[in-house]
């Protein structure tokens, strides 16, 4: 799986190198956007001291972990939510006759160098946050765990968003609300939102497990909303559960796939 992904990613990158000027411009463009992003965040954070009861480095920690998870998921699987375009063009039929998982081919389709760019910004914020936090090792182990779980959760949301397009070929925007909306939601302490919403993202769409719950552990904080303590260890569980749902949704979608009339 990993080898096939890497091979196809490399192939797509070489294919994009066939248009060197456009590649250079796109890369420059994405570097500029990332630089601006970092600047924007710096502006925001330099005017912030606390947000929702959290100090600046803690806010940056939440922002950075969610950002890294989302950027990695987006880089590896973000293309999956463009399924409807591939269905309409007939390209998905071609993926189905190759001896590799259609999901994987879909994920890696048109892989390009710019996809790496999105990670840097979030990683910079996370790095600064960690420098200002001094997390003891007894709690720091959770950081890689939560990032991996976050990647799995976001990837699952991408997969579910893709799977819905087997049915709703004309509604990719609905899917975007969940993927990009979910990423924005997790960037800030959930206390800034109402407690109803927090319950929803904890138990319905398990976004709270991307960073909020495990971050409470890392930061050594009590849950401002008083949810049970064990939830902060539950990210792997939530990730596996959502990934299972995503896999079933994708399978069901492929079974219902109708191709095109020509």
């Amino acid at each position: 799986m990993v080898r096939t992904y890497a091979l196809l990613a490399w192939t797509w990158m070489r294919a994009s190198a066939q248009y060197p000027v456009s590649l250079a411009l796109l890369t420059l463009g994405s570097l500029a956007v990332n630089a601006l992003d970092i600047l924007a965040i710096w502006v925001i954070f330099s005017h912030t001291t606390t947000l929702g009861g959290f100090a600046l480095p803690e806010v940056m920690f939440l922002y950075g972990t969610a950002g890294v998870s989302f950027a990695v998921a987006d880089m590896l699987f973000g293309n999956v939510d463009r399924l409807s375009t591939h269905i309409r063009s007939g390209g998905f039929d071609i993926m189905l006759i190759r001896p590799a998982a259609a999901f994987l081919q879909m994920a890696v389709d048109r892989f390009n160098v710019q996809r790496f760019g999105r990670i840097t910004q979030a990683a910079v914020v996370l790095g600064l946050a960690l420098a200002g936090l001094e997390v003891p090792w007894s709690r720091a182990w959770m950081i890689p765990v939560m990032i991996v779980c976050g990647v799995v959760i976001f990837a699952s949301i991408f997969a579910i968003a893709g799977a819905t397009q087997f049915l709703l070929i004309n509604a990719p925007e609905v899917a975007n609300a969940f993927t990009y909306g979910g990423s924005s939601l997790t960037q800030y302490p959930l206390t800034v939102y109402g407690s109803e919403l927090v319950r929803a993202v904890t138990f319905v769409v398990p976004l709270a497990f991307v960073n909020w719950q495990p971050a409470l552990l890392v930061l050594g904080r009590d849950d401002p909303l008083g949810l049970p303590h064990w939830l902060r260890y539950a990210s792997p569980l939530a990730a596996v559960a959502l990934a299972t749902v995503a896999m079933l949704a994708w399978r069901a979608g492929i079974r219902r796939y109708r191709s095109t009339g020509s």
């Binding site: 096939t4 192939t11 294919a15 066939q18 007939g90 071609i94 190759r98 079974r255």
Partner: protein, 267 residues
């Protein structure tokens, strides 16, 4: 090699007809279709536009799951074992390419070698053979997007055969080819079938393909099998001296007698 038993495929089409009213229409693209193709056969699959040929091909390759009935290709159920089946069959769609648009042909082939896990030596041998037979040598370094339709088509055929499949399924492989390319393509397919024993199923609107290539013909109309038999049996359905085009045109016009009354689709 290919076994289709009482297969049906329906498409439900929902259409807005008013503000709140929505119409639901069921299209029977294929209904109650049964046929077998034995190993080594060369079978033509005919039918007027919209008859259900491509839908059948998509079910045979695992792209579409049948709504009813049972299919086996190379010993596998296509919809359930799609990726395993992909290693055993070759598929060519005349209308769209399986090659990577921006990569040189050679690189597309190399990638296919990895995906299909063909060993290096066998791959080399096979590629040399195919480029020779399809006179593709001078295009190996050309990006696919710069190839003409006929050149691309030969590239696609090569791609479908690199893993030496036992079955080759082609949906309109001669569409848009000039007379010379068509003849070359036919010669190649004939040879592939005769010498390697590859089972071939092909759809076409070109009666020349049928006459020159096929041992047997299946004709589908309105999703139902309307005729099945050898070329001679096909000819025998019309008075002598009728051209093969006219023989087929007569059958198309007659509808699907084998399936009883002709039934309007979409009810």
């Amino acid at each position: 090699m290919i076994d289709v038993q009482e297969v049906g495929r329906t498409f439900t089409i929902r259409r807005r007809t008013g503000l709140l009213r929505r119409e639901r229409r069921v299209v029977h693209a294929v209904q109650n279709l049964s046929f077998t193709v034995r190993a080594g056969e060369f079978v033509g699959y005919l039918g007027p536009n919209g008859a259900g040929k491509s839908t059948t091909i998509k079910m045979l390759t695992g792209i579409l799951a049948p709504s009813s009935g049972r299919i086996q290709v190379a010993g596998l159920d296509p919809a359930r074992r799609r990726t395993a089946l992909a290693r055993r069959i070759g598929v060519v769609f005349g209308q769209r390419t399986t090659l990577w648009w921006d990569l040189p042909l050679r690189d597309s082939f190399e990638l296919i070698r990895h995906l299909y896990k063909v060993d290096r030596v066998a791959f080399r041998r096979r590629l040399d053979e195919l480029t020779e037979l399809l006179t593709l040598g001078e295009f190996l370094r050309t990006p696919v997007r710069q190839l003409s339709l006929g050149q691309r088509m030969r590239g696609d055929i090569t791609a479908a055969l690199l893993h030496d499949p036992r079955v080759l399924v082609l949906d309109e492989p001669t569409i848009g080819l000039d007379v010379v390319s068509k003849a070359a393509m036919r010669g190649f397919l004939r040879k592939l079938n005769a010498e390697r024993g590859t089972t071939v199923l092909l759809t076409t609107h070109d009666m020349g393909d049928i006459e020159k290539l096929c041992d047997r013909v299946m004709l589908i109309d309105n999703g139902r099998l309307a005729f099945e038999g050898g070329i001679d049996d096909l000819r025998a359905t019309a008075p002598e001296e009728t051209s093969i085009e006219d023989v087929v045109a007569r059958l198309y016009a007659r509808g699907a007698p084998a399936a009883g009354q002709r039934q309007a689709r979409g009810q």
